[in-house]
Each structure stands twice: as C-alpha cells, then as structure tokens.
Amino acid sequence: MRNVLVIFRKELHSYFVSPVAYILLAMFAIIFGFFFWNSLGYFVYMGMESQMRGQSMPMNINEELIRPLLSNISVVGLFLIPMITMRLFAEEKRSGTIELLVTSPIHDIEVILGKWLSALTLYAGMLVLTALNFAFVFRYGHPDWKPLAIGYLGLLLQAGALLAIGTFISTLTKNQIIAGAATFGACLLLWVLEWVSGYETSTWARVLAYMSVITHFESFAKGLLATKDFVFYVSVIFLGLFLTARSMESLRWRS
C-alpha cells in the first residue's frame, strides 16, 4: 500500500508539473461550461414556454437538467480519457525508466494501481470542476442531491473502467501517440456499440449493446444504483488492470 502511494504521488506530480493536467482540466471546464450554459438556457426557455401555455406541471430539475448534463460529462470523458492514460506506461518504456521500476523491490500490481489511481484522481479533478457549476443549481433551485451523487459515482466507475483499458493499452507500445489513438478507438467503439440496439433485438445485438459503457451509465444518470451496472464497471476495471499486469509481466520475457 505504501508503494502504491509512492507511485501515485509521482504520477500525480508529473501530471501537474507538465501542462497535461492543466490543458485537460481547462478543456474540460470550457466544454462543460458550454454544455451547462446551453442546457440551463434550454431549461429556462422550456419553463417559460410551459408557463405561457398554462401547464401547471412543474418541471423536474433533476430529470431535465442534471440528468442530461451527467450524460454529457460521460461522453466528453470518453474523449479525454486517452489523453490521461496514453503516457502512463508508454513514456516509461520509451525513456527506459521502466527498468528502474521493474528492478526496484516493488510489485507490478503496486505500480499499476498507483498509476491507475492517479489517472482516476485527475478525472475526479475534472468532476470537481463540474460540481462548481452544479453549485449554482443548488443555490437557486432545489434539486435532490442523491441522484446527483449516484451520477457522480457512475461517472467515476465508467472512467475507472475506461482508464483501466487505457492503462493496459499504454503498456503495449513505446509510443504515446499510438497508445492514445488506440485508446481513443477503444473508447469510441465501446460507446457506439450501443447504437446497434436501436434497430436490432437479436441476441448478438443485445450482447453488443451490453458491452457498451454508455448502456450501463443510463441507470446511474437516472439516480439508480443498479447492481448489474455496478458489477459491469467493476468487472471491466478488474479485467483492464489484470491485462495490464499480464502485459507488464510479459515485458520481462520479451524485452
């Protein structure tokens, strides 16, 4: 555990001494800021419209503002995650520092966990930025905080799963760009797999749709903690980290 912390601190440090973390955080803040402004504007417009029509049904801020925004975060995350994970192992392999890690009295899994947790922490940092926007909603409205908390949990789980896959891909190459591009491809594929369910209902279509990371986020966005979705994300995290461990081990046999 102590060693995990040593690696974790080192990784977080290198995110924040290089421009990587700042660029990612700034990009995310701008994109999410736009989504927020846009969604809020639409929400207010719809509210006025329904009042003018004389409808008495009040609008639900959780359902009609927070839920779509959470889905937006989840999709933006898919694009930023490759940039978080691409250097994790590829850079160590390129510069030869991997030899230091591998010849130190520290287990592979400690290295992997430290790196993955630091990536997850950077992602959590992005979520903190979104919390600033949501703070305004709480200041001027009365949304229920529980669905929002579950939504955040879902975002963390989804990111954890994709980050684990990205970490694995980063162990396969010395080249950051290749690692980034391959991770981006994997993320995108895991997103669009869900589209097949739009017109197909056969078994294979259901299997494909089940494998999509977006499918499993829907319940979290609604504020539901569904066991099957929780288990899905946790399994993907385990799978990704397991593959990373195997890949790191094979590095010794092949190099």
Partner: protein, 327 residues
C-alpha cells in the same frame, strides 16, 4: 557476493547468453567486456531480476534471482545504459522518489539523499530539472540513484558511454571510490576502461564467456612473457645495432631482440623475455658494461585489445557495425 551458474538466455531466434558461469568476490570491481551485442546487458538484466534466465541460476548477495527476486532487488543498485531519469523531476526530488521506491523513509531517507548528493557531486544541481542536466550530471545522478539504498551490489551498464574525457575520468574515479563498500560489476566495450578501473575482467563474445581472470594475469597470459622496450645510445657516433642484438641475445631469459628504429643518437629495441624477474637487471648491466648509454627500459603493457584478439580470434567489431541484440 555474486555467483552465476550456467546462465542462459534464449530468444526466439538467437541465444543472447550461452551457459555463462562466473563468481564475483565481495568488494571487487569486475569489468564485463565485450563488443556491443555480446550479451553484457542481457546478463546484467538477469542479475537485476529485470528478466528471468531461460535456464541456469544466479545468486546475488545470497539470494536466488528466480526464487527471491525481492530480496535481490533490495540489495542491488542498477544503472541501466541510459540513466532512468524523469525529465520533469528535480534532482533531489528524484532521488527521494527512488529512495522511497527502494524502501527508505523518514530521516534515513533524508540522510541518504544528502549523502548521495555529496558523494556523486550533484549537490549543486539538486534543484534543477533532470531534463536540463548535461550528460555528465545525468550519469552521476544515475549513479546516485543506484547507491541511494546502500546496496551490496552495484551493476553499471556502460557507465561512461557518451561522456567527454574529463567526465569519463570523474566517473571512473567515482566508481573506484565506491568499491569496497559495494561489489561492482560494470560493463564496457572500451578496453582501457577495464585496465584502469577493474581488478578482474570477464570477456564475453557472442553470448559466451571467453575469459575470466584478473587484469594483470590476463595481460601476462596473452604473451606468456614480458615485453620490454630498450633505448640505447653511444657517446660517440651511432651504436652498431648488430652488435647490440648479438650481445643482448646472449642474456639468459631473452628470447628475441628486434631492432625498431634510430632517432638522433638513440636506438630502440624491443626485447621479448620470459617473465622471471631478473632479465631487466641483467639487461641493464650488460648494456652499461658494454660501454653504451641506457636511456630507457620499460615494459610495454599488452593492451586488452590484443588479448581480445587472441581469445576470440577476431578483432573488436567497430561500434556502428554491430546491432545490439539486447535492445
């Protein structure tokens, strides 16, 4: 301190290290000599538990690299061919990180970081980014990193490659001063480096160990004899080289006298003899008694280059021509 028994590393298409066995005593500096691609790096990587051997075993500081890699890693300091530096870290910060990796903490960690900063003469760059350091500094930080946890064994892969002559000397002196506390294996393809730094030498070629001996023994073995250079002159006129040759050949122990050249009034001869210890004295006496002047008498050291030639039957390949198999 290090015992390697019949270690072999096989890749899909070639054998990088082929049944190599050797031992290193505590406190020694051993040079691992061979052309690029001979299997030096691979052997070192197996000793550091970076990769497991295909067959055979290696014991480092009393622990088997396959069975107790953790114990071995705690007792080994390793400087790979390119120092494993993170360009975005500062020197002291980096050494602290490596110290933590090796299991140090608290006051002991601070103490060791300060110690190695001084020991390796990198204290003046302790707040500089590693990415901005010159090659000599990078190499020294690499050494500092290797000794931070005071390991029993130091494994240095080409510690002087890419440095300028002044930096090479500084690095060599530093390595020599580390012996005694640490047992050191260093690899190189530069021959004088071994002669200057190491007590014994392991010569490896195409994955096979072709010689293991002390540097002095190896030099003797190459000729099985001593080779001397003598400069002789006469007070008036030139010396008659034929007379000198016949006179010196009569001395017992001398096997061959070869005239080399005459410059101004001094004539140079190369003399081969059995290394029995009396030849030099007899030579000097004979020359002076014959009325000649003795200007110089010195043994010519056989370079490892010649030894390498004799042992492997081929000259050291030029650096660029060889593809490094280990990378």
């Amino acid at each position: 301190m290090i015992t390697v028994t019949d270690i072999t590393k096989r890749y899909a298409r070639h054998t990088a290290v082929d049944h190599v066995s050797f031992e290193v005593q505590k406190g020694q500096i051993v040079g691992f000599l061979g052309p690029n691609g001979a299997g030096k790096t691979t052997t070192m990587r197996m000793l550091t538990c970076f990769m497991p051997p295909t067959s055979g075993s290696a014991m480092v500081a009393g622990f088997d690299v396959l069975e107790q890699p953790f114990e071995v890693k705690k007792r080994i300091g390793y400087l790979p061919e390119t120092p494993p530096l993170y360009p975005e870290m500062r020197t002291a910060e980096y050494l602290t990180f490596v110290g933590r990796l090796k299991g140090l903490s608290g006051q002991e960690l601070d103490k060791r970081v300060h110690y190695v900063l001084d020991r390796c003469a990198v204290a003046d760059v302790k707040d500089k980014l590693l990415g901005k350091l010159s090659k000599g500094y990078r190499q020294r930080v690499g050494l500092a990193q290797a000794i931070i946890h005071n390991p029993d064994v130091l494994i240095l892969d080409e510690p002087t490659s890419g440095l300028d002559p002044k930096q090479i000397n500084e690095t060599r002196d530093l390595i020599k001063s580390l012996a005694g506390d640490h047992t050191i294996i260093l690899s190189t393809h530069i021959l004088p480096e071994v002669e200057q730094t190491c007590q014994s030498v392991l010569i490896i070629n195409k994955g096979k160990l072709v010689a293991k001996d002390s540097v002095a023994n190896l030099q003797n073995r190459a000729r099985g004899a001593e080779s001397l250079l003598v400069e002789i002159g006469a007070r008036s006129g030139d010396v008659d080289t034929a007379t000198v040759q016949s006179r010196l050949e009569k001395i017992s122990g001398v096997t061959r006298v070869v005239f080399k050249e005459t410059q101004q009034k001094w004539s140079t001869f190369e003399i081969e003899s059995h290394a029995d210890g009396f030849v030099r004295g007899d030579l000097a006496r004979a020359i002076v008694e014959s009325g000649w002047d003795l200007n110089e008498l010195r043994p010519t050291a056989v370079s490892l280059e010649e030894i390498f030639l004799q042992l492997t039957g081929e000259p050291l390949p030029p650096e660029e021509a060889v593809v490094t198999g280990a990378d």
